[in-house]
Amino acid sequence: MSHLSAERLAALADAAPTTLEEAAHLAGCAECAAEREAHRRLAAMALDERTRLAPPLTDWTSLKAALHGEGLLATGSRLSPLGARPRAATAGRGSTVQSRGPSTESREPLFSRRAGLRVAAALFIAAGGAALGRASAGVPAVPGFTVATVATAEIPDRLSDTLGVAGAVVTSLVADTTAAFRSTTEALVALARAEEQYQVAAAFLLQHDSSSGMSGARSRSSDDPSSVYKLRLAALDNVMAASREALYEAPHDPVINRYYLATLGAREATLRQLNTSLPAGARLTRY
């Protein structure tokens, strides 16, 4: 029997042979058996795609505006009761539904513990990113602050200083948080803005500042230009592992999800940089 066709082998990735002849051929032909295995690996890769997280395409601000436009959301941060769609329909497409009763915001604490934690986490991320950016540019992160040393033997001195400063900044900012925001909505908007800034700053650092914060690492192995990226990659793997564990604890927490995604993005960017730092002709194919 001649080899099975490519499409037949593709079909056999998740199906059994339909004839004895076909089964016998697969059992005796190493080439066709290998092809079938390749298709099974492809199927497994496809299945993995389903669970792959990616940054959302939508953002709440524009979605909220669209919901207003559709008459699904009333003004004053009050959702039109969705079970009462005929009322919304009466209002017509493009119009808003009158708010009924007190606003949702007024029923809840101005600054709940959960929202506070989210803001604190975001501020930590934002302050850490900002401080790292300033430090890498040779500028003190926050003039006048005493640096709390958190360095270990594995962390380059300059980076540990930066982390210490970031911690001090966070402590200070979180202490002022309750005075800075009047509602959870306002805090969440600030959170989103801080996250955006952090992402942009991190991307910039990855693009332009690969070595300044880790000069010690570079000097230890100056013969290998990719050592900085390898060290960063190893560190990011640790962060990934920690944030993945956190996701098991709080799978739906948006802050943890964002932190995980940010780390994932940084890791992928570092891999790309590592790829470009490799000798000509060598490239990353898997990680």
Partner: protein, 203 residues
């Protein structure tokens, strides 16, 4: 009662924060479905917004028989397919399925190796790509795909196998290799040129 069910109930009672919570919890998955089916991020962003409006509009019909994510996923797929149909991306599948079947093989596929399924799937004809994503990624049956796309189950199978065969070539460097080492053990592997047998750990 699950957390989602309580959140849905609060949303139905008029709690905007509950609505936002549903969005923030499920957007990474729902938007990813839209992105996979559409391909183009700009177009996908518009459709994703339509999808979420549709999900919220349909919220009163959510009975809690399935997980909210599963229910929303189904809406996302249907809405995205409708949107694609509007933009004629599926017209090829529905009207020229025979032509498409004859055009999956291209010279030079092997020289254009892709790094991910998502990237490689962009090289498929729209119909074959949609069938592949619905079946192999989203887990739809051929009968469900046939109903959604207005084709036969046999046509769905035919498209799937052609798509798989092409993707297998485009991703040969990935599917021909043994499974990847565990994350963190070898953070990266380097090959020289396209020699798949020469793998050197970086760390």
């Amino acid at each position: 009662m699950g957390t989602d069910h309580l959140t849905v109930r609060r949303a139905l009672e008029g709690d905007e924060r509950a609505l936002r919570s549903l969005w923030s919890q499920h957007a990474p998955h729902i938007d990813a479905v839209v992105r996979r089916l559409v391909g183009d991020d700009d177009v996908a962003a518009d459709i994703a917004q339509e999808v979420w409006i549709q999900i919220f509009r349909a919220l009163p019909s959510y009975r809690g028989d399935a997980q909210f994510g599963t229910w929303a996923h189904r809406i996302a797929v249907n809405r995205t397919l409708n949107a694609l149909r509007r933009t004629r991306r599926l017209a090829k599948l529905e009207t020229d399925i025979d032509e498409e079947s004859a055009s999956v093989e291209h010279e030079g596929d092997r020289s254009l190796l892709m790094q991910t399924i998502e990237e490689a799937a962009q090289r498929l004809a729209p119909g074959a790509r949609t069938v592949f994503i619905l079946h192999d990624v989203e887990g739809y049956t051929h009968e469900e795909i046939a109903e959604s796309l207005g084709i036969t189950a046999g046509g769905s199978k035919s498209q799937l196998f052609k798509a798989r065969a092409k993707l297998r070539r485009l991703l040969a460097h990935l599917v021909d290799s043994p499974p990847s080492p565990p994350l963190g053990v070898a953070a990266a592997a380097v090959t020289a040129g396209t020699d798949r047998t020469h793998v050197t750990p970086l760390c």
